[in-house]
């Protein structure tokens, strides 16, 4: 019994604890106790579902990356809005993007980023996790799209995940 009194996924526990404090409208004795309990209990239940730890090596770079993505999202929205409202027909294109990332979580993050950022939506990941199919709404050339993604998103992610 005692050996179960651990935190199998400390990061997750921490995250859950933090979220609990937000959810319970301010920090109080009760919320801390309950938060601790849940931060322990929930990973106990769910640890089977999340066995592979993400291979984070530089987690602190995440906020920077997220901030960049957030900015890009806003820009993307504006550009999509402009395109949608303009009478001009878009010139779309499917792009096959060669992946360097290997970890599935990292690939997912990249694919998500691509979908949220200007002009592109990730449509598919190849079975061997080597290629990403991207639909670009209004792109000039395939290489241009690939290069933009490579430098702007995949590089930082490569640094974070190994």
């Amino acid at each position: 019994m005692l050996d179960r009194l651990n935190f199998p996924q400390p990061w997750l526990s921490l995250l859950l604890f933090a979220i609990w404090q937000f959810l319970s409208d301010g920090i109080s004795g009760a919320s801390v106790v309950l938060g601790l309990f849940l931060a322990w209990l929930i990973p106990q239940i769910t640890q089977g579902f999340w066995p592979e730890r993400p291979g984070f090596i530089h987690p602190w770079r995440m906020p920077v990356y997220l901030a960049r993505v957030l900015m890009d999202i806003i820009v993307a929205s504006v550009s999509v809005a402009r395109l949608i409202l303009s009478p001009r027909a878009p010139s779309p294109m499917f792009v096959c993007y060669p992946l360097e990332l290997e970890h599935p979580l990292a690939i997912s993050i990249l694919a998500s980023t691509i979908s949220l950022t200007p002009g592109t939506v990730s449509a598919d990941v190849s079975d061997d996790n080597k290629t990403l199919l991207i639909h670009a709404l209004d792109a000039q050339s395939e290489q241009e799209v690939i290069d933009a993604i490579k430098t702007r998103y995949e590089k930082p992610l490569l640094e974070m995940f190994k």
Partner: protein, 933 residues
């Protein structure tokens, strides 16, 4: 006590009889005789009372609400019948001992015979009409079983069913008649009824009551036009025919007429109904008897005729006629029983009853022949035999009927004609059987005399024929007097029992009948030829065909209405609702009530517009099933928004979660189903359905509008006021769910649990072939678990659990609670199944859903039972605010345990259901894992 004993003993004997069956036929016959012997002994002490004109009454209360009592009455009439039943019964028992074959089921036979005897005694001894009714129907039932004793014979089965249908059906009419009489008199006790004759006859319902009672009597006593069952009942073993169909049961109808004579007779209606029925029966029975080649058939039709004779006598309505009727009951019972037994012996010894084959038996069995010839002579009305006496009385009475004009000739004419036929068929019975050349391939040849003891009953009866014929006053005088007196209610007319009453018109009629009959028999071939021109109706076949036809009509009719179409049943249901609701709704008058309409707000209106559009589109476009699901989702979403818009956050959340789970469920099912619904109904049909649907929709609209615009007050003020102080929560909906109406919630999670268990059980052995691709010709993709989905789904689970915990804990005070929390957890788990598959997920779920369902129910129930300890009723909640160091002040409510039960049940049930369906899929080869093992 002795009277109930007399009736009940045979029933007890019936229970005991099969035990004696082991001891062989003799043992059981002796055992079966015991009840009758005891009964005779029990009746003997009452004789003096009866001879003095008294009545013996034994009465015990039974069901006063019904007017039913356990009361018995012994008077002359019932004594006469009881003696017939008991004495002839004894003879029958003896006779049957030899008649039945050792390998036959004698236990069953004697048991049934005793049951019958008890029922018959019950009829004649009952002093309560309802009690009599019970025994009446019992005789129908037991006779049904006796007639069909040889169940392997088709004719026996059919004859039995026909007898049951006619006599049982008549019994129902009789029941109605008796109930009316009881209603008029205010009692079913015989004394009261017999005393209330004038009251009954004056009542407006008298004609109905009389008709119904007579229907009962006529069917039982085989009166025209219900006589047809009796000859077919002759498929019974001969002891049964002799006992039931000549001596006793068929006399029950006669008994009834005699019994109720003071209460019902003496009116024109009685006269016409009874005497004309009797006349018709008399004539038809006598006529047909002549042409029967079957020995028992002849006797059966003769019985019909004689029963008609007795009925006619009762119908005449004069006191002397009634005396004659009672007298003929005795005489007929005696000679006809002996004749049946003789016929049974002949059948027994020759193997056939066909008179065309049976000839010249005189040479083989002179003893039996002598007996039969005497009895047959009695039946023909030969002087010095008992039959002659009552027949003379009958002829005399037939002359007394004062019918108007030329009709006055009818009764004597019919009587004489019937007499002629009677002599003719009696002559046939004698001549055609015992003389008339040599036997024609008898199955048993040469015939012998039967065993000695088999003849004894016949001898006794034939002896009685002679005794009564020669010394009527001495032999039956007192009994007849007592019976007649009881029948007539005390006043007995002057009558003389003598061998001869001098040379008068009745005697002349007898002579005419005698010689006419002999003449007719000598010219029989002409009559046979004449009769052969008419097609003989086989009533049994007609009856059988009628029943079959009714049955097949019923089958067709039922099949037509109950056609197995859900559409029809559902349509009927909806139409029924419309039918009952339409009148009140039409009366609504104004559609918009007092409170009027509230102002419109456009966004809501647009939302409602979308809702209506998508609802109608779902119906209109339902054939493309997936499309219908998408539209349905929109409708569900809009409903949820509607709940939120009109102040029901809890409902909005529940609706949303349930809707998604439902859609997932529908898609799980749709996978195996055709993607398209073909058009299968005609345009008319669809138009009709549209009309029904529109009517239902219009009705709901009208009701809703009327309802929403009326001012309103409800008990909810109490909930709002007491939620916080009494229930410890500010979310009133939640407090209602877990506290005020917690019992509903317990029921509801039980429903959820049962549904899940039922689904699990139902799908356990179901195998479905999944389609190889969608309906549009695409094969399914190989990629079952897309990478992005898998990656996002996994962190979703702990987050969802966190949110569930949050929603759960705040539920008592803010929107949320066990349900919604449960559904969030369930949906998060479902997402795991969708993203990563059954095997993967199932391996990681640390609990079994079955147990979770059970545990949830258990928590909720225990939370409820807990209050017993404090002397409070089930589900009384308690809460307190507790202060702990560090933690601070917090609320503890027992309702939370209840809500935890809800939470667990919802998760367990939802997943058990979905996983059970998911397991059908070919990829989930984990049937024996976790859930299945």
């Amino acid at each position: 006590m002795s009277l109930p004993l007399v009736v009940l003993l045979p029933f007890l004997g019936a229970l005991a009889a099969p035990l004696f069956a082991q001891g062989g036929r003799t043992a059981i016959a002796i055992a079966a005789s015991v009840p009758a012997l005891i009964a005779l002994a029990a009746l003997y002490p009452h004789w003096q009372t009866l001879a003095d004109g008294g009545v013996v009454l034994h009465s015990y209360p039974w069901l006063p609400q019904l007017g039913l009592s356990f009361s018995f009455r012994l008077d002359g009439l019932s004594l006469l019948f009881a003696l017939l039943i008991l004495l002839i019964g004894l003879l029958i028992i003896l006779y049957a001992r030899y008649y039945l074959k050792p390998q036959e089921n004698v236990g069953k036979f004697y048991a049934l015979l005793l049951c019958f005897k008890g029922s018959m005694l019950g009829i004649v001894l009952s002093s309560n009409l309802l009690l009599m009714m019970i025994f009446w129907e019992l005789t129908s039932l037991t006779s049904f079983l006796l007639i069909s004793f040889w169940t392997h014979k088709q004719d026996a089965r059919r004859g039995a069913r026909m007898a049951l249908a006619v006599t049982g059906g008549g019994g129902l009419a009789l029941l109605a008649g008796i109930l009316i009489i009881g209603n008029i008199v205010g009692s079913f006790e015989l004394d009261a009824v017999l005393a209330a004759g004038d009251q009954i006859k004056a009542h407006s319902l008298y004609p109905v009551a009389l008709t119904l009672v007579l229907l009962g009597a006529f069917t039982k006593s085989a009166q025209f036009p219900f006589h047809f069952w009796l000859p077919h009942a002759m498929q019974a073993p001969t002891p049964v025919s002799a006992y039931l169909h000549s001596a006793t049961m068929v006399k029950a109808g006669i008994f009834l007429m005699a019994r109720l004579y003071p209460a019902l007779a003496g009116t024109e209606q009685w006269f016409y109904m009874v005497s004309f029925t009797g006349m018709a029966t008399l004539l038809i029975g006598a006529y047909v008897a002549m042409f029967k080649h079957d020995l028992k058939g002849l006797l059966a039709h003769s019985t019909v005729s004689h029963l008609g004779l007795i009925t006619l006598l009762f119908g005449m309505g004069t006191q002397l006629a009634a005396v004659a009727a009672v007298f003929h009951v005795i005489n007929h019972a005696i000679f006809k029983a002996s004749l049946f037994m003789a016929a049974g012996i002949i059948d027994h010894e020759t193997g056939t009853r066909d008179m065309r084959r049976i000839n010249g038996l005189w040479r083989y069995m002179p003893h039996t022949a002598t007996l039969a010839m005497v009895a047959a002579s009695s039946m023909a009305g030969v002087p010095l035999l008992n039959g002659f006496l009552s027949k003379e009385m009958f002829f005399a009475e037939s002359l007394q009927l004062n019918l108007p004009g030329i009709w006055a000739w009818l009764p004597p004419l019919v009587a004489t004609l019937a007499g002629i036929f009677a002599v003719a068929y009696s002559a046939r019975f004698i001549h055609d059987v015992f003389f008339n050349g040599k036997p024609v391939d008898l199955p048993i040849y040469p015939p012998h005399e039967p065993p000695r003891y088999m003849k004894i009953p016949v001898e006794i009866l034939v002896f009685a024929c002679i005794m009564v014929g020669v010394f009527p006053a001495l032999s039956v005088g007192p009994l007849l007097y007592a019976a007649a007196s009881a029948t007539l209610g005390g006043e007995v007319p002057e009558y003389h029992l003598a061998i001869l009453h001098g040379f008068n018109l009745p005697l002349f009629m007898s002579f005419a009948a005698f010689f006419g009959g002999l003449l007719m028999y000598s010219q029989r071939q002409r009559f046979f030829d004449f009769h052969a021109r008419f097609r003989e109706i086989d009533e049994k076949a007609v009856f059988e065909a009628t029943v079959s036809r009714i049955a097949s009509l019923a089958t067709r009719f039922t099949g037509h209405i109950e056609n197995g179409s859900l559409q029809r049943y559902a349509g009927l249901l909806v139409i029924s609702v419309l039918a009952v609701a339409i009148a009140p709704l039409m009366n609504l008058g104004v559609f918009v009530g007092e409170s009027g309409l509230s102002p419109v707000d456009w966004p809501t209106l647009i939302g409602i517009g979308i809702l209506i559009l998508c609802a109608l589109a779902t119906a209109a476009l339902h054939r493309e099933r997936f499309y219908a699901l998408v539209l349905l989702s929109v409708v569900g979403l809009m409903v949820a928004l509607g709940f939120a818009r009109f102040s029901a956050p809890d409902l909005a959340m529940t609706q949303l979660s349930v809707e998604v789970v439902t859609i997932v469920l529908l898609m799980l099912a749709l996978f195996y189903m055709p993607s398209w619904t073909p058009i299968e109904s005609s345009t008319t049909r669809r138009l009709r359905d549209i009309a029904i649907a529109l009517a239902a929709g219009a009705g709901m609209t009208v009701v809703t509008l009327a309802m929403l615009t009326q001012p309103f007050a409800s008990i909810s003020e109490f909930f709002l006021a007491n939620s916080k102080p009494g229930g410890g929560g500010t979310n009133v909906v939640n407090v209602i769910l877990v506290d005020f109406r917690g019992f509903d919630t317990l029921g509801e999670i039980t429903v959820l649990a049962i549904a899940a268990l039922g689904i699990y059980a139902m799908l356990k052995e179901t195998a479905l072939t999944p389609p190889p691709g969608d309906g549009l010709g695409h094969r399914w993709t190989r990629d079952a678990y897309p990478l992005m989905l898998r990656q996002i789904a996994r962190p979703m689970l702990p987050l969802a659990l966190m949110v569930s915990a949050y929603i759960f804990l705040r539920g008592h005070n803010l929107p949320g609670g066990g349900f919604i929390a449960g559904l969030i957890t369930a949906v998060a788990l479902i997402l795991q199944y969708i993203a990563s598959g059954m095997i993967w997920t199932q391996d990681r779920v640390p609990f079994r859903y079955h147990n979770m369902v059970g545990l949830g129910l258990l928590f909720a129930t225990i939370a409820g039972v807990g209050s017993y300890a404090f002397g409070y009723p089930f589900l009384t909640s308690t809460f307190d605010y507790i202060s702990w160091p560090i933690v601070g002040k917090f609320e503890v409510a027992s309702a939370l345990v209840f809500d935890l039960g809800v939470y667990l049940t919802v998760i367990g049930a939802t997943l058990l259901a979905l996983v059970s369906i998911g397991r059908l899929s070919p990829h989930s080869a984990i049937k024996s894992k976790k859930e299945g093992a």
